[in-house]
């Protein structure tokens, strides 16, 4: 019923969108798992990553340096925010950290507007070439985005399973108090996790910038989608985040092929459906309940 070329390009488009969502959602998921905070300000690091990489591109003409610069800037800002705000409110109720993080997000959007102005700017695509798969023209850049996010997944997996710090983080997700009892400084773990999350969000922003316009509200635009990815996967689970990022990307892109307004609606319908069947999300563990 649908022609193959359209289908293939739709699937690739969905995969690249899903990759971006995955990079953003993994940070949120780790933050929730370890620190029990819902860190809405990850969307701010995403915007910062995009804006800084755009600015560096304009200055140097090289997009990849821009992406690394954006990652670094996002990491530094997230470190500052963690030091000045989160360290004081980790003990509080989850609702309050959520509102504080929303405050950071809004303030950051205001700051970005102040620095870069209101006008959306187009960021250039670093690689213009097209690859051919089964007779369909595919932009190489989208394939690279997919590849990078897969590398990040492998890297995160190795970090969590093969290093002492990563193992401590995984143990912290299960039970923070026991980890503290073993003599590990959990606040150091919190800082490390938060910086990783912020840096990945910055990477997502830098990679996403050439695919869309860079504008101050870009964080708010993806907010609902990223949260959907996290909810469908189950808060605190990396595998679930990967699976749900894939689902949401495909539903968004293939849904829009069938009926255009469906693109924004269909993922939400899927999310409601999944939550009705399994209120903790696909891979949400029972341990995290309350």
């Amino acid at each position: 019923m649908m022609d193959t070329q359209l289908l293939i390009s739709g699937v690739i488009f969905g995969l690249s969108i899903g990759s971006i969502y995955f990079l953003l959602a993994i940070g949120l998921s780790l933050c929730f798992g370890l620190m029990r905070i819902i860190s809405l300000d990850q969307l701010l690091y995403y915007s910062i990553g995009a804006f800084v990489s755009y600015t560096i591109y304009v200055a140097t003409g090289n997009t990849w340096i821009g992406v690394f610069g954006g990652m670094a800037a996002a990491g530094i800002v997230s470190f500052g925010v963690e030091r000045f705000v989160y360290l004081r409110i980790y003990e509080r109720d989850i609702a309050f950290t959520m509102i504080a993080s929303f405050g950071i997000l809004i303030a950051g959007v205001g700051a970005i507007k102040y620095i870069w102005g209101l006008v959306p700017r187009p960021a250039p695509i670093p690689i213009e070439t097209q690859a051919t798969i089964l007779g369909t023209e595919i932009p190489v850049y989208r394939l690279m985005v997919i590849g990078i996010s897969f590398l990040v997944y492998v890297g995160i997996w190795l970090f969590l399973n093969r290093t002492i710090t990563g193992k401590a983080i995984r143990a912290g997700i299960e039970d923070v108090e026991h980890v503290e009892g073993l003599g590990i400084n959990v606040y150091k773990l919190f800082t490390i996790t938060f910086i990783i999350a912020g840096t990945l969000s910055g990477l997502a922003g830098g990679l996403h910038a050439p695919l869309i316009m860079v504008d101050p509200h870009m964080g708010l635009h993806v907010l609902a989608f990223v949260f959907m990815v996290v909810i469908i996967g189950g808060l605190g689970s990396i595998k679930g985040t990967l699976a749900s990022a894939f689902i949401v990307g495909q539903v968004t892109s293939l849904g829009s092929l069938i009926y255009a307004p469906l693109a924004q609606m269909a993922p939400f319908a899927i999310m409601l459906l999944i939550l009705l069947i399994k209120p903790t999300g696909l891979y949400g563990s029972k341990l995290l309940k309350r």
């Binding site: 959520m98 507007k113 309350r290």
Partner: protein, 327 residues
């Protein structure tokens, strides 16, 4: 004795708002009143039941569009329009309630956010034939004038909105004193114990959800009649946190919190946006500072001081200290 005390509180508030009406410009006061009605629902959900909801604009839009459809397509009487908006709010929250109240508090917040986005796209794109998309529905001239209080006139609308707000305030006061209000607090603090006592947590939460979101829908209906215009902008995802912010600003779970919060928030927004274009920066920083300073909000901090200085021994019951952790 109890009754005497809370009528006293209402009289005080009436007097205060009467004074405010003379001092401040009318549009500002009306905005504050409607916003405080909007916040009351969120305040009840957050302070009493422990549900934090980032999707209140969805119910606001339901109320506003319920009113707008009637006034644009069928009738001309604004009172019936408001009633229909209210009814739409009841129907929608009865339908979605059972699915939502089963969820944990953090999931509840995000699912509501998703609902707000769905309603936004529904009104902007999918139902564009009926709602006219981004252009919105204009029906200011279609509203007929009514005998006693003419809602087309801002001065009469002020009195009507004021009466509604007072009635709602009294209603929430009544709820607080009733057994049901105690049950709501109990589901927030210790639901297992409440279940053990023979109450159904699910039913209590569902009813609370319906009450709170109907209040929000009423605010939406009032917005629709006041502006004579409804567009999908009122449920835009960027404004989803407004009611939560105002609730926290005013003081979670306090009766006067919504009004104080609405005055502070609307006032600040007017004041700041007069000087600087990007007021978000200030609102955001303010929010962070409030969260760092404490959880009580403006009214929660002021209340003990006022109580001491005015020698009013606990006329204004404060409940926010009960229950340290929400669900």
């Amino acid at each position: 004795m109890n009754i005497f005390k809370w009528w006293w509180g209402i009289l005080l508030a009436f007097l205060l708002l009467g004074v405010v009406r003379v001092i401040l410009p009318l549009p500002f006061v009306i905005e504050v009143i409607i916003f405080s009605i909007y916040t009351m629902g969120c305040n009840f959900l957050l302070g009493r039941v422990g549900f934090i909801s980032f999707g209140q604009p969805a119910y606001l839009a339901v109320g506003a569009y319920g009113t707008a459809f009637y006034l644009y397509y069928f009738g001309t009487n604004p009172y019936i329009g408001i009633l229909l908006g209210l009814l739409a709010g009841v129907v929608v929250s009865v339908i979605v309630g059972p699915f939502f109240v089963r969820l944990r508090s953090d999931y509840f917040a995000l699912v509501n956010l998703a609902l707000a986005v769905i309603v936004y796209y529904l009104m902007e794109k999918i139902l564009a034939d009926i709602t006219h998309g981004d252009n919105g529905l204009w029906f200011l001239t279609r509203m007929s004038s009514t005998p006693v209080l003419d809602l087309g006139k801002p001065s009469d609308f002020f009195i009507f909105a004021f009466l509604v707000a007072m009635a709602l305030w009294a209603f929430y006061k009544y709820l607080d004193d009733s057994i049901y209000g105690a049950c709501c607090l109990a589901t927030k603090i210790n639901e297992d114990k409440l279940k053990f006592l023979g109450y159904s947590n699910f039913n209590i939460r569902w009813l609370a959800f319906i009450i709170a979101n109907t209040t929000t829908a009423l605010a939406g209906a009032l917005y629709a009649v006041y502006f004579g215009f409804v567009s999908p902008e009122i449920t835009s995802p960027a404004r989803c946190a407004d009611p939560v912010v105002v609730t926290i600003l005013g003081g979670v779970g306090t009766l006067y919190g919504p009004i104080v919060g609405a005055i502070a928030y609307t006032g600040m927004k007017d004041l700041i946006s007069g000087f600087i274009v990007n007021w978000e920066l200030f609102i955001g920083l303010l929010l962070v500072f409030i969260m760092l300073a404490g959880e009580k909000g403006i009214w929660g901090t002021l209340e003990p001081i006022l109580g001491k200085t005015l020698f009013l021994k606990r006329i204004l019951p404060s409940l926010q200290d009960r229950g340290d952790k929400s669900r």
